[in-house]
């Protein structure tokens, strides 16, 4: 069975319009991230307390809020989760030593007709939150740097530029969707972002590897047809791999909690990673080539 056989799509021909579309989306992402919605940062980064509680009988957020008023926590964010009668109670920044989970449990036990179980509590001090935020930014920058260096060694510098731009494109795009949809960014989402980085890079490297090979064979051809041919030759593999990964990640969307958000991030990443390796990684090398060739003349 084969989905693609000897394809010869003119990918590069459409690269200008693809780049414009990308540019528009990236602009929307940037505007949303920096000017309009910002991020919905989880307590891992903001500091605070999260209590996941499951009640025996049905209950409304209002009733929970009333109960929390007895310990002065009525301003907490109370969200219903996907599980039955389960709620997430979030309390913003608190001092390091206050036992907020204890207070919440104390407040909820005043509701004598409904028993409950505290399934999870997380308390992150403001200092830790700040540290995690900083470490994460370092990790992403460090990852991009290491990858750039590795590709410069294995390929050429212009490929490294193409790969890193494609990666920034992917991460920014995914962050943009997270900002627009106000999906929560936690530690596992960051892990997902870094996996997207690795994944999208996989596709890009497979393409570059083919370009490297074809550069030797088609020594006197201009760069465009070489890249176009390489994209076509690797297309079958790219689609199959993305598809199998997509299966796996798509199934993970039906898991619960953090894994679910992780899977959503990955799913977006797989789609965008596939797209960017064709329409960002390739064209950047072409653009770089043109600039470089023009200088030479």
């Amino acid at each position: 069975m084969r989905f693609f056989k000897e394809t010869n799509f003119q990918f590069i021909k459409f690269s200008k319009s693809a780049i414009s579309i990308s540019a528009v989306f990236l602009l929307i992402s940037i505007v949303s991230i920096f000017f309009i919605r910002g991020f919905n940062l989880g307590i891992d980064f903001t500091g605070g307390t999260l209590v996941q509680v499951q009640f025996e009988k049905a209950i409304t957020t209002g009733e929970i809020r009333d109960a929390l008023a007895s310990v002065n926590l009525q301003n907490s964010i109370i969200q219903k989760s996907t599980a039955t009668n389960e709620f997430m109670i979030r309390v913003a920044q608190d001092s390091d030593n206050e036992d907020v989970p204890g207070l919440i449990s104390q407040a909820l036990s005043t509701m004598d007709d409904n028993s409950f179980e505290i399934r999870r509590t997380e308390k992150v001090g403001p200092k830790i939150g700040q540290e995690l935020r900083r470490n994460t930014v370092y990790a992403v920058i460090f990852a991009l740097l290491v990858i750039g260096v590795y590709i410069s060694i294995r390929f050429q510098f212009r490929f490294a530029i193409g790969a890193v731009i494609a990666l920034i494109h992917d991460v920014l795009f995914t962050l943009g969707i997270f900002s627009l949809a106000q999906l929560e960014i936690s530690l596992s989402t960051i892990a997902a972002f870094l996996t997207i980085v690795g994944y999208s890079l996989n596709d890009t490297i497979v393409l570059y590897d083919r370009v490297r090979e074809n550069l030797k064979i088609m020594r006197f051809e201009p760069i465009e047809p070489i890249i176009n041919k390489s994209i076509n030759e690797t297309l079958s593999r790219t689609i199959i791999t993305s598809l199998t990964t997509f299966f796996v990640v798509f199934v993970l969307v039906f898991a619960t909690g953090e894994v679910r958000i992780f899977a959503i991030a990955m799913m977006i990443g797989v789609i965008i990673g596939t797209y960017s390796s064709i329409y960002v990684a390739g064209p950047v090398v072409i653009a770089w080539q043109h600039k470089f060739a023009a200088k030479k003349k």
């Binding site: 590795y150 796996v248 619960t256």
Partner: protein, 636 residues
């Protein structure tokens, strides 16, 4: 050629045997019933298993993860003697600055000191003369304190009896404690966090205390705040304080308590203060207090107000600088003349510096007080000190006969008996405990030793066992579905070769698990996500190879040549792609805390194993088939 394929099979066989051995422990362990586990624990053979099995992370089996930070400034404060307001202010400012700028406390502290030309030697003798020497000595002390804190917390947790606790140091002054399957979170937290700082401290001369109380009375009456009006008398007596001129507010508002706070303290009772109606206009502070057998008692409902008054900066100025106020550990239930029972907390006025500290304690046991003692039938903790401690204790008791000596644990007074004789042998007991449970806990923390400085909980995560079980179930189900989908797809798309890839994926899973078991790694929920992702990556390697073989076959190459070319060409691509993903995984392992780290670990090893299974193992089987006869067609 034939021989080479055999060697390949031998390598695969050996790898499988090693993996099988490594996984044996986990599989065997999972078949044990609870009784078998207990039996094995008793005869000591369980340890062999526990070292070799794949452990489940806290997110999968439930438990508690706490990050503690040793409070270094507090340590410095404890070590300082002859404290002055100037020293305290300098310390406080350094704490705030180092918090804000995230700079090392000692760096900020010594900079501030230089700026004010402050001489540390006044507060720290035996630590050198120059500021720099003293700071260096304090830094050494802090390092040493961290080591001790780690050891002490380890001892406490060991005595608490949780299976396989993890206690490790993180960074300069942090400790990570992980307790799997612990049910009583509250109890565990207090055991870890309690400083267990035991002190024997002399009470201030009653006259000094009296004159202080009088000055507070005077201050409240004539100072910034004054009592101006009385609420209607239908609820006992409510006293409202007034902020200088016009704004009339209730006591609660003024002192910053809301109704909710009071509901919390005691729900049934009204929110009024209990004051002696005759006294309050003349001696407002005294009216909040009661004389109970010569000691100061405070009705439970007044405690908050009294604390608030004592913490008032202006009131603090009135307080003798070498003294402090502490509260009793538990309330006493007393019946007033009117027949009303009320809970009273005792308020003690103590010397600021302890007469002797608990570090000399050699033994602490919880028991019931004997018939001849004052605490007959009550839970008590017996303590004995070493020779040095006994000497100091004997000097302390000998020269202060007739005075009161408070036994203070973690800033709470447990008892304050009058010293009637010199105690030469360094033995004492603590009474005034809530319950036997309480006594046992105190004995544990005293035996394990006091923490050199308090620890703050800066991060705490707890997961209930039911959530962990749910997580295992869903992730197992989800993982299996993804796995099956991929396997079916590959067999369908690449036929025979696809089945080979499927075999590689299964083997990959076995090898990763074996490596995790060998490393003694912990499997977390994100770790499982990493494993599932590894499936995708392992398949990708085979897709790359198979696509290449198909291409080569189309170019008209023979099966054998196409396989050779496919593998050698694809190998470079796979290597480049995998190395970059592994670099990302390594970064995750490096920077990640708990769960994210787990993801990095499984991803890293998963990719490494996939190189072996997807390239080496599948190639071996291709080779085996082409070695035996020349294939005309290939099922791919």
């Amino acid at each position: 050629m034939f021989k080479k394929t055999n060697i390949r099979f031998i390598i695969i066989g050996v790898a499988l045997l090693l993996a099988g051995y490594s996984l044996y422990w986990t599989i065997a362990y999972s078949t044990f019933s609870d009784e078998q586990v207990e039996a094995k624990r008793a005869d000591g053979s369980l340890e062999k298993f526990e070292e070799r099995i794949i452990r489940l992370g806290l997110d999968l089996q439930g438990g508690m993860h706490v990050v503690l930070e040793l409070n270094i400034p507090k340590l410095v404060e404890t070590l300082a003697s002859n404290k002055t307001p100037q020293f305290d202010a300098l310390l406080e400012r350094s704490i705030q600055e180092s918090k804000a700028t995230d700079e090392d406390f000692f760096t900020v502290f010594s900079r501030n000191m230089e700026a004010e030309d402050f001489k540390l030697v006044r507060h720290f003798n035996d630590r050198g003369y120059k500021n720099a020497d003293i700071i260096k000595s304090l830094e050494d002390e802090a390092r040493d304190a961290m080591q001790r804190a780690l050891q002490i917390i380890r001892n406490r947790v060991d005595q608490f009896g949780v299976s396989e606790p993890t206690i490790q140091r993180a960074g300069q002054n942090r400790i990570i404690v992980e307790l799997a399957g612990v049910k009583d979170i509250e109890h565990a937290r207090s055991l870890i966090q309690s400083t267990a700082l035991l002190e024997f401290t002399l009470l201030k001369d009653p006259q000094v205390t009296q004159s202080f109380i009088a000055s507070v009375d005077n201050y409240l009456k004539t100072g910034r705040r004054e009592i101006i009006e009385e609420e209607p008398a239908d609820e006992d007596t409510i006293v409202a304080l007034k902020e200088s001129k016009d704004k009339a507010v209730s006591v609660h508002e003024l002192l910053g308590i809301t109704e909710a706070d009071i509901d919390l303290e005691d729900e049934q009772e009204d929110t009024s203060l209990v004051v002696d109606a005759e006294l309050y206009s003349d001696k407002p502070f005294t009216s909040l207090l009661r004389n109970i057998g010569g000691s100061i008692g405070v009705p439970e409902r007044n405690v908050y107000t009294v604390k608030k008054i004592l913490n008032d900066p202006d009131v603090q100025k009135l307080m003798p600088y070498d003294s402090k106020f502490l509260w009793s550990a538990k309330p006493e239930r007393l019946t007033t003349a009117a027949g009303k029972t009320e809970n009273y907390y005792m308020l003690y006025h103590l010397e600021r510096e302890a007469g002797i500290q608990g570090k000399y304690i050699t033994k602490a046991t919880a028991t019931i007080g004997g018939a001849e003692s004052k605490a007959a039938g009550q839970p008590i903790v017996n303590i004995s000190m070493n020779n040095e401690g006994a000497k100091i204790f004997s000097r302390l008791t000998g020269s202060n006969i007739g005075k009161f000596l408070a036994i203070v644990l973690d800033e709470k007074v447990y008892m304050a008996p009058r010293i009637s004789v010199k105690i030469p042998n360094g033995s004492a007991y603590i009474e005034g405990l809530e319950s036997m449970e309480d006594a046992k806990n105190i004995a544990i923390v005293l035996r394990a030793g006091a923490l050199p400085a308090p620890v703050d909980i800066i991060e705490e995560r707890t997961i209930g066992p039911s959530l962990g079980r749910d997580s295992i179930n869903t992730s197992a189900k989800v993982g299996l579905i993804g796995f099956v989908l991929v396997i079916i797809f590959m067999a369908f798309y690449y036929k025979g070769a696809g089945l080979l890839a499927d075999l590689a994926v299964v083997l990959n899973f076995v090898f990763v698990m074996a490596i995790l078991a060998t490393l003694g790694a912990t499997l977390t929920l994100p770790g499982i996500a990493g494993l599932i992702l590894t499936i995708g990556i392992a398949v990708d390697a085979n897709v790359l190879i198979f696509e290449r073989i198909r291409e080569e076959l189309e170019k008209g190459k023979t099966v054998r040549a196409a396989i050779d070319a496919g593998y050698s060409r694809a190998f470079r691509t796979i290597l480049d792609a995998n190395v970059t993903t592994m670099l990302t995984a390594l970064i995750l392992m490096q920077f990640g805390t708990g769960p994210v780290k787990g993801f990095g670990v499984t991803l890293f090893w998963g990719i490494l194993c996939s190189m072996f299974t997807a390239i080496f193992v599948t190639r071996t089987i291709f080779n085996y088939r082409t070695d035996r006869k020349i294939l005309k067609t290939l099922s791919i």
